[in-house]
Structures are given as structure tokens and as C-alpha cells.
Symmetry: C2
Subunit: 194 residues, 2 copies
DNA sequence: TGTGATTTAGATCACACGCTCTAAAACACA
DNA sequence: TGTGTTTTAGAGCGTGTGATCTAAATCACA
């Protein structure tokens, strides 16, 4: 019996993602959001609750997509080392493509949230630990197939890769010189070789 | 002939730093600031211009101190590798000390500023490139004194160290498990060995 | 076709924000 | 001590914010 929604949820949430990604949670005003989403204020509040709930939804959606991408990328390729090479190559491409100089929504959220706001801190920490686990699996496979050094534990190397990835996402938000980005990625992948 | 200021500039700026560090630029309200600084609103605006100018001042002061610390720490010790070990050990200590779970003010500023706000982006990028240069010098010395691998260029390794450092600062803002932090630091320093 | 729930639309609310204003107080110099 | 300048003190300005409200439009079902 209810009147169906007139807007496409996917498109609307994509638009909200774009705004939050570029401006952050606090700086993104509801007016900016409704304009970008092409929805009225009332529709937004009716459909999603409030600004914070919308942000949470956007963040979860983004994180889910990012984790899926990480998992599949780290699983492809002839060897674990090759998968990691591809992974970081894609990351550096994204970092250097002028458009996506916005870093990673999750990282941005984590830094904006800070010590207050335990909710978002938990969300972000959870994503980080999942990615770290994916790295760890990948490194372990590489140590088994001989493509990655066994000089250090898979856990330690996974932590290293996580921090490099996060650092890269930070650098992405400044205007990085391509040489720096390419160099550090080359360095990170080379360092894993046996 | 003018009446001298009644407040201690250093203490007041330290207080402002604490607020901006914990809350970020946008979320730190002028009322929070004046309360923490123990100054009246008029004094704040009279002495520092506006909120943004105060933030800029605080950021520059913080960055200056941080760069000095980096430079001196990376210069001490029997070898370049030992200096880097100390450097990252100090960093992980700071990351794990419950109090300073605020990461790094410069990193926070860089991520909050984003693509808009070219001014702060420039400030942050400049600090990053200076730190990278310090790493580069240190690595070069290590390659000369034999304490650091020559398998990769000093520039590439410096980039790797920068991204690890930034990643660590991001992780600091979530509640990191000590084992993860210690592991990734161990991994980063081990990987530099010849 | 009528009924009722739910969406739209846009004006509008109360509030917190960054910032300024007017006095009064305080000090360096003559 | 008198003068001039700058600080303090805190009330209050206009604006933009997140969120709501009333009414009209819309559609599934009986």
C-alpha cells in the first residue's frame, strides 16, 4: 500500500559517498548532500534517519566493496608475490590518477573520528584488521610457494603491508610526486622477495 | 606604552594544540578553544586573527617541533640503522601509550583538508617531503657505513619509511593491538638490513 | 473508485557557530 | 599623576547548521 520510493537507492548512495569522501563527515552539509543526491531533505531524513546514520551506511557500503576488492585481488595471479605486486600497482595507479586524490573513505573516517566517537573507531579498526588478515593469508601462501621471504613472520609482514597501504592513502590526499609513490611501492614489493 | 598581554603565549598555544589535535580543525569550536586556553574570545581574535590563523600557527609550531625531533633522532646512535631503530621504537612507544592516541597533528590536518584547501595541503605536503629527505639522508649514511642494504635506492627506501610512519600514525588513532604495532615496526627495521 | 499509508515539496525551527562590539581595566611613558 | 594605547570582559550579532513540520501528490490495495 505504501507509495514506492521515486529515487534509485544505489545512485543516491553513490552520490552521498562522493560528497562524504571529498568533504568528510563534519564538513559535508545536509544541503550539499541533498543537492548531490537529487533528493529532498525530507526524503533523506525519512529514508536514512539522520546525517550520521547515512554516513554510517555509506561507510559500511564502501568498506564492504573495498574488502571484496582486496580479497579478490590478493587471490589472483600465478603467485602470492605477483598478487601483491598487482595489488600495490593498482593502488599506486589510483593514487596517481588525478581524480581520486581523495585517499580512502575509511582512512579519512578513522582520522576524523579520533578518540571520541568510539563507534566509528570500531568500524575502522575492524576494516583494518580484516585487511591485515587478508595480507597475512597472502604472505603465508607466498612463503609456502616460495615467492615471499621466510625471514620474518607472516604477521609482521602483514602489518608492514597494512601500514604501507595506509601511508599511501594518506599521501594520496596531498599532491604526491609520481616518482615518490612509484618508488615506495617498488620498495615495498621488492622487500618481500626471498 | 601598550598594556602587556596577561597570558603565557606558550601555554596558551599548547592548550590550543591539544584541542585541535584531539578534535580536528572543523570540530574544534571557538568556545572549546577559549575555555581550554583560559583566554577570552576577544583576546584570542585580537592576538591571533581568526580560528583558521590560529590553527595554522599551531600546525606550524607542531611541525617545526616534529621536524626537529626527527632530525636529531635520525642523527644519533652508532650507525644509521641504529638511529632508525630508535626512531621507530620511539614512534611505536608513542603510538601505544594510551594518552597519545591522537596520531600526528600534521597527518590529521592533511586528511581533514583534502583536495579543497590547497593552503593546508601544501603545508602538509611540505612537511612530508622534509621528513622524507631526512629519511633519505639517513638511509644513504647507512648504505655508506654498511648498516643498511644497498639492494634498493635510498629514495625508494625513504619513501617506504615515510609511508610506514604515516601508516603508523593512522593506526595510532584507532585502538591498535600492541602486537601489531610492534610487529610492523620490527618488520620495517629488519627489512632495511643488508 | 475509494481508502489509507507514504512519499514528496519546501518553508521553517531552534541552535551552535565564528566573530565583533562596547566598555572598563591596566599598564608604559611623560 | 595624567595620557594614550591595548588589553580584558562578556553580551550579542548574523549566518549556516541539522533537523522538522504541514500539506499536497502518489500509488497499492479493497
Amino acid at each position: 500500500m505504501p507509495r514506492p520510493r521515486e529515487f534509485d537507492e544505489t545512485a543516491v548512495l553513490d552520490a552521498a559517498t562522493t560528497v562524504f569522501w571529498a568533504r568528510g563527515f563534519k564538513a559535508a552539509s545536509t544541503r550539499e548532500l541533498v543537492e548531490a543526491m537529487g533528493v529532498t531533505t525530507a526524503s533523506l531524513y525519512n529514508a536514512y534517519g539522520d546525517k550520521r546514520a547515512l554516513y554510517r551506511l555509506v561507510l559500511d557500503r564502501y568498506a564492504s566493496g573495498a574488502l571484496t576488492w582486496c580479497a579478490s585481488t590478493l587471490d589472483e595471479g600465478p603467485s602470492a608475490a605477483a598478487a601483491l605486486d598487482r595489488f600495490f600497482e593498482a593502488l599506486s595507479q589510483e593514487t596517481l590518477s588525478g581524480e581520486a586524490r581523495q585517499g580512502c573513505l575509511v582512512v579519512n573516517a578513522g582520522l576524523e573520528a579520533g578518540p571520541h566517537d568510539p563507534e566509528f573507531q570500531t568500524v575502522v579498526a575492524d576494516v583494518f584488521s580484516r585487511i591485515s588478515a587478508l595480507f597475512c593469508d597472502c604472505v603465508r601462501r607466498g612463503q609456502a610457494d616460495g615467492s615471499i621471504t621466510q625471514a620474518q613472520s607472516a604477521e609482521d609482514l602483514a602489518g608492514l603491508l597494512l601500514s604501507v597501504m595506509l601511508g599511501l592513502r594518506v599521501i594520496a590526499r596531498t599532491q604526491p610526486e609520481p616518482a615518490v609513490v612509484l618508488g615506495l611501492v617498488r620498495s615495498a614489493t621488492t622487500v618481500l622477495r626471498p
